[in-house]
Amino acid sequence: MTSTPAALPPLSPARAEEFGAALDRIRAEVVATRGDEDARYIRTVIAVQRGLEAGGRLALAVSLLPPAWCAGTAMLTVAKTLENMELGHNILHGQWDWMGDPAIHSTTWEFDFLTPADAWKHTHNHLHHTYTNVVGRDRDLGYTILRMSPEQPWHPVHLLQPLYAALLAPVFEWGIALYDLEADAVTDGRKSVRAFLGEVAHLARKAVRQCAKDYVLFPLLAGPSALPCLLGNVTANGLRNVWAHTVIFCGHFPGDVRTFTEEEIEDESRAQWYLRQVQGSADFEGGLLLRVLSGNLGHQIEHHLFPDLPSNRYAEIAPRVRRLCEKYGVPYATGPLWRQYASMWGRVLRHAVPWDLRR
């Protein structure tokens, strides 16, 4: 049975190896030229992010004044977005470990997102990035609640998936936090109940700190502005959630992204792994602002090929990766954000019903 969309005739093993070697060279070039400028980039993003966060919090402290509310909420939303996308996600991938700066390191970073960094690193860096779009192995393929490919068994509850996919967006951080607990791994016997309870407690501790800060302490400190401050914080978290949901869903779920079967990845070589990463991801195009606010995940394909290269370099290598794909006839999915977004929703709708609407 073929996956969606139809698999292309595979490259001959020799051609695949050539393709892989060319990608290895791109990686080696970036690794060899990482330096001062990249370090300055990430430190600038950190400074801007913390400045915006501090500014946003201050403005929301006097948010009885409507302009202060608007400015504060906007700054906090951007700060939280930067923190999750360009900082948290990428630093936790180890993209900046090469600097040897303990303040910007995958082992020490904790992000302003509900799920604890350790839990995220396991489900995201390990499971999702290794088994990208392999049905039955990549839990991110529908996050265990959405049906995103015809190989996934249909269940009547999937009729409601357009609804809950939409409802998930504004509370995305809660969805991810619960998802990272891997309750399904306990029922499958892959994780002990004891380990699971430990992780629940770990999450609960972080959740209390996160919620106390945004929904209790800052509003209380705002005194007469308590209510608008609370509203501002809720809005900032909500908008950040919707944005993160959009970026992540557009990275893997547009219609022209392939899924794979477990048989296909048996004895997969590094070159074949590269091929799967390209076909299992989708880019979206945008200017500098969109790039930074999405954590450079508009370059999802480049990110999946080289998850540990500094994100500020993806834009630079994207044209080369794309030319390489053209040369070897490997599909390279890209388009404007709105089109990827529409295509992603099309897929959610199509797979809500048991019939394969493509045939």
């Binding site: 690794v31 913390r50 090469w98 690193k121 396991h122 860096n125 700190r209 400190l221």
Partner: protein, 379 residues
């Protein structure tokens, strides 16, 4: 010429926010900055304000003869002080990458009366990565990261009555810290310190003016300068001749491994091993930069107590697991960083790029790095 900067505003402020009330306030503020700490914000205003990642600012750079400088450093919050003779790790950024090297403190410990400054004296290793940068390209205002002072090569309190110091080259630095400490407050009346210091010649003898001046003024110090260009290398026999009662003295020695090994053997033979304290500037012999292609090496997993031979092309993770160690792992292909482990010593080769790298403390992805010579991991 030494260049002095006016006191930066960060210095006094950094000192002011160390009180108990300030600490309580910062702890409370931590609820608001979570998951970051207030230090992460303070450090953006001035790196010296962050106690989480302690830093210091170079306030003066003083030449100390050919290829050597003394860096005067004002430490920020988080610097917990030191004892005379200790060293500290200094973090230096070169092309975006932080390198750590250890340097002996040549300044006496804080005694509460002076302002907080420390000094280290760096002798350039022309083929090295960090010391030429510190010696030639470091100017006042540079921020350096500081690790905590450490080491057991220290001057005891109260100081012993009879002491012998044997030093060679830049090995004088920890002893200089001790001598300056003794010089600050006159030691007990019958104290007698003999310093045997070896240098190539008078022109490249670190601290020569200060040492001879101090020996003239201080009744407790006797100085013998040994110049290798005219008198050959300083040996254990020289030491025995210059200081006949060596076995009875509390002794501190710092210099090349050959000298230290010879002293160790002599003191052992005389049953005086307990009185000899040595400091090595290079902890372990470095692996050659380009080991043979089939190099590999012996790998030690320190915590598990497992040791195994590892071929150059085999990931360290495989070697460890095959030898029975239980190690952290993730994707096993260099993607997830779930297997990171600190390198204790030795070097590794990135099996994807062939690049040989590794410094003590560097976190290594064990699933995509092989051994480039003997090494140890903190696993």
């Amino acid at each position: 010429m030494p260049v002095f900067l006016p006191a930066t505003p960060a210095g006094p402020l950094a000192e002011r926010i160390t009180g108990r009330l300030a600490r309580a306030l910062l702890a409370a503020a931590g609820r608001l900055t979570s998951p970051l700490t207030p230090d992460d914000y303070l450090g953006l205003i001035d790196p010296l304000l962050s106690a989480r990642h302690p830093a210091g600012r170079v306030t003066a750079v003083r030449p100390e003869g050919p290829g050597a400088v003394t860096l005067v450093i004002r430490p920020g919050r988080g610097w917990a002080g030191h004892r005379a003779g200790q060293y500290l790790p200094v973090g230096v950024e070169l092309d975006g990458v932080r390198h750590w090297r250890t340097y002996s403190l040549t300044s006496p410990p804080e005694d509460g009366t002076r302002s907080r400054v420390l000094t280290v004296t760096v002798k350039e290793d022309p083929r090295g990565a960090v010391s030429p940068h510190l010696v030639h390209r470091t100017s006042p205002g540079t921020v350096l990261r500081l690790g905590p002072a450490q080491g057991e090569f220290v001057l005891p309190e109260p100081s012993p009555a009879r002491m012998l110091m044997v030093t060679a080259g830049s090995g004088i630095t920890p002893v200089m810290g001790m001598l300056r400490t003794l010089a600050r407050r006159p030691p007990p009346a019958r104290t007698d310190v003999l310093l045997l210091h070896s240098a190539p010649g008078p022109g490249d003898c670190l601290f020569r003016a200060e040492l001879t001046g101090l020996a003239r003024r201080a009744p407790w110090l006797r100085l013998h300068l040994h110049y290798t260009r005219s008198a050959g290398r300083l040996t254990a026999e020289h030491v025995g001749r210059l200081c006949p009662d060596w076995a009875a003295r509390e002794t501190w020695a710092c210099g090349p491994a050959g000298l230290l090994d010879a002293l160790r053997a002599r003191w052992d033979a005389a049953g005086a091993a307990r009185r000899l304290h040595v400091e090595h500037f290079r902890l372990l012999p470095l692996a050659p930069l380009a080991p043979a292609a089939d190099g590999g090496g012996r790998v030690r997993f320190e915590r598990s107590g497992v040791e195994a031979e590892s071929a150059a092309s085999v990931p360290l993770l495989h070697t460890g697991e095959a030898a029975g160690a239980v190690l952290p792992y993730g994707c096993r292909r260099g993607i997830c960083f779930g297997c990171l482990a600190p390198l204790l010593h030795g070097r590794v080769r990135d099996l994807r790029t062939g690049e040989v790298h590794g410094e003590p403390g560097e976190l290594i992805q064990t699933c995509v790095n092989g051994a480039a010579g003997p090494l140890a991991l903190d696993l």
